[in-house]
Subunit: 198 residues, 2 copies
């Protein structure tokens, strides 16, 4: 295998180890030492791939959006009917539903961390934002949306709603269960669609 | 003045100093030392009011919800017409709008911090959740809501939407300005109300 691919694979392994540490200890516990240990690497090997802890965490953050976008593309390319695909994509974005639990949770942890650290955040690099834009343009294509809606306002509203829902699915696990989160998404869709979507 | 009142006042001063430190340095910088310095107190005096830093931060967090609830009550008791009051309350909950910028931002920092620290979060103690419930029951009273709505789902949707909006008003300041956030709230209200509300 060419070295470039090895390096990419190894960086992803380290980033996934960082996710595991974050899920166990929070971002505060995500030291280079803890991540190296989780990845089964020496601190020296880890530093070969990432010069700084900042670079590692940035990579780990970007990998969540990359994975979310990959998964969204996979879903849209599968053989289900279009409405089913839209639902599947939306459920994937909420940590308690879908297969991307880790990615969706880590993404939210990084996003809210930007608030604590006063760091830059760019919606156009956010896998969830891109997924919502994707879903909305597909709903336009399928002529599902009610006539009176403003597309850009609806997109922003949907994005804010999904972030709040994702946050609360993690903070109120007893109340906002997988099932309840799915119901909420269906409720929102019914309010913006001309016809029943799921 | 009785000592109890002094103590309450002093605790609030310390909590407000904690807010200032958090807004400057993030929660990571909110050490007892930094807060004492900001409050102009010795570490010893600060410890007289709060045994532990945890107790101090919990108090500082609860004070945000208390202030939000106070402000909501004040607005509902003023002489404006009911629809104006509802709008005023909702705008107050978004950090970039209204007078409670500090409280609204600090509340969100604490809420998302619960995610990082895997701490407990209780919606029923959250000033914003209580305000949204209050707004919704007032809209029921005024017969403003569209007939087909489910009150409990609408309340949860509104709450998730407001949290996402508050988060993005802080993370995307160039895009989600005060004006834009107000427009988004009005857009949401138009979608759930029978008549124009603002």
């Amino acid at each position: 295998m060419p070295k470039l691919i090895d390096s990419h694979k190894r960086k992803n392994q380290i980033a996934e180890a960082a996710w595991k540490v974050i899920l166990k200890l929070g971002l505060e516990g995500a030291s280079a030492r803890n991540i190296a240990k989780e990845a089964g690497l020496s601190l020296g090997s880890l530093r070969y791939y990432f010069d700084t802890q900042e670079a590692l965490l940035e990579y780990a953050n970007e990998l969540t959006s990359e994975r979310i976008t990959q998964r969204v593309d996979e879903i849209f390319e599968n053989d289900n009917n279009p409405k089913e695909k839209i639902l599947q994509v939306l459920f994937e974005l909420i940590p308690v539903c879908g297969d991307l639990k880790q990615e969706a949770e880590i993404r939210l942890i990084f996003k809210t961390h930007a608030l604590h650290k006063r760091e830059a955040y760019t919606a156009d690099k956010d896998g969830v934002y891109l997924a919502i834009k994707n879903v909305m343009s597909n709903m336009v294509l399928l002529n599902l949306l009610k006539k009176e809606l403003e597309l850009s306002a609806e997109t922003e509203r949907f994005f804010a709603f999904m972030d709040g829902l994702a946050l609360d699915s993690l903070l109120r696990p007893g109340y906002l269960t997988d099932e309840k989160a799915r119901e909420m998404i269906l409720y929102h869709l019914r309010s913006i669609c001309k016809e029943d979507i799921g």
